[in-house]
């Protein structure tokens, strides 16, 4: 399992690379800051899936839990754990 802070850092870096936006903090709400729109969200999801080797369950996707680097990292960590457990 990847250390939590390392995962958050990787996520922040990914957001920075993909969207070319500064992530002021790992808890910054990217939606509220207007940094993410629908096209950016789709690109980001695609990149997250590739980078972390997970498949986000978009049918049950809840944007409320995917608004900051820390939240995104938590979603990925939970998915990775489920996979390991299975």
């Amino acid at each position: 399992m990847i250390a939590k802070t390392a995962l958050v850092d990787r996520m922040s870096e990914l957001i920075r690379d993909v969207l070319q936006v500064e992530v002021p903090g790992s808890d910054t709400d990217l939606v509220e800051e207007g940094l993410i729109d629908s096209l950016a969200l789709i690109s980001l999801i695609t990149e997250v899936e590739f980078e972390f080797g997970v498949r986000l369950p978009l049918g049950e996707f809840d944007l409320a839990h995917f608004r900051s680097a820390a939240q995104m990292a938590a979603v990925v960590a939970a998915l990775a754990e489920t996979r390991t457990a299975a």
Binding site: E22, S38, I42
Partner: protein
Amino acid sequence: MSTLLQDYVARAAADRGDAVAVALGDERLTYAELDRLSDRLAAQLVDAGCVPGDRVGLLLAKQPLAIVAIEAALKAGCAYLPLDVDSPSVRLARIVETAEPRVLLSAPEAAPALDALAAAGFAPPAWSLTAAPIEGERVHSARTRTEWDLDGARPVVRVGPHDPAYVLFTSGSTGWPKGVVITHRNVTAFSEWAVEAFAMQAGDRHSGHPPLHFDLSTFDLHPTFAAGAELQLVPPGLGLDARGLAAFVRERELTQWCSVPSVLAYLARFDVVAQDDFPALRRVTWCGEVLPTAVLAHWMRRLPHVRFTNMYGPTETTCASSWHPIASLPTDESVPVPIGRACPGEELLVLDEQLRPTPTGEVGDLYIAGVGLSPGYWRDEQKTAAAFLPDPRAPHSGRRVYRTGDLARADEEGLLHYVGRADSQVKSRGYRIELGEVESAFAALEHVRECAVVAVEAGGFEGVAICAAYAADGDVEPPALRRALSDVLPAYMMPARWLSLDALPKNQNGKIDRPLLRELFARQAGRRRRQRA
């Protein structure tokens, strides 16, 4: 007496005044209210010196009062000019400078945008449509609702059917947006067609998804009012919330949905439309860009009770000029659906470089003739003359054709197929974007030594991605560049992919090698797709 656009609301108010005309969340206006409020606002616009031919700017979020503003501008004999509150102030200032609105109908929350406009030297009188005044640092509302919502005589201004009804600004290749002038007759012809073609009637509930500064909103407003139906504005907060948007369609029992394809793709991507969902829905239409056939097939399988219709047409020919009802589930999901046949009163012509018709099956430039044609670009004879040509079949008749810049071919059945663009214009989320406008804005930024903006197919659901390659001075952080660019370009024009290089690749002539850049960006995405598969 010719029908003018505002007559639709007046007619519906007389026939069924208690019916809802427009709703957003818990807010709603009946036809009687919409008619009365717009009469009152129009009377005050006239009182404030608005005369036929003037532009009345709209600088406020999409809401029932914005619809009141549109109808009021028309009743005052003016053309409405919808402005994007979220647009960077530089761009907004260019539009206001060019269009010279007599008044800006606005709201307190637009104070920052109004302040920025005033700082740039453009401060037409701003009115607050609400009871609360606009209290910016520089701008204070000249009137509020208390001063315009007054009992009085109905305005009696009537312009002619060929006078402007609205002016919409679209992306211009040189970095300066251009205004498309659309007349009452342009829109009444479109509306009458749409009402008949889509069997729109009182009792229908039609979606209002696109923003008002986008041409597609023409379809939401005027045909809906012509039918005496209900306009259900989509709450802006649902932009990212796929499930919320699906719930909105379900709970509001919409009967007609119209949006750009990317919205349909977004809902499909998040898989939020259940089997046989939206029982009230009768028709889904889209316009503005190509809907991936796989997405269409997904929707058709989920909603077998719904009719699906592709529409095609640029802003210059009023919303849509051709249509194609989808007869059955596409068998090959890799083949795009046709843009179909011309709407009545319009013609779509596929011509070669000498403006002669191309043989069936051959690709040519797509031209449009007929009732939808704009009289031209706002105060720009040069651009107008370049895009609106004398009809080559009767050069002295006064009839014109509009050069769309799209490439198309006709098949054996006479159906038209969109093939691509002849220039560097792209569509993203339904917006047309001149890559030249993005590139010139980018090139003008400090620290950017050279740059090129290209578009690549994003594949699958996403459509076209705008990609920016650049070489910059070492002392600038990429996010700072992005921020600087977002200060001058609206969000929908922002590049989705970025590539920082020491120098841009050049071809043998020393020009930037754009095909190679497209390949680099495509490979970036392709690598990821392969890895995932």
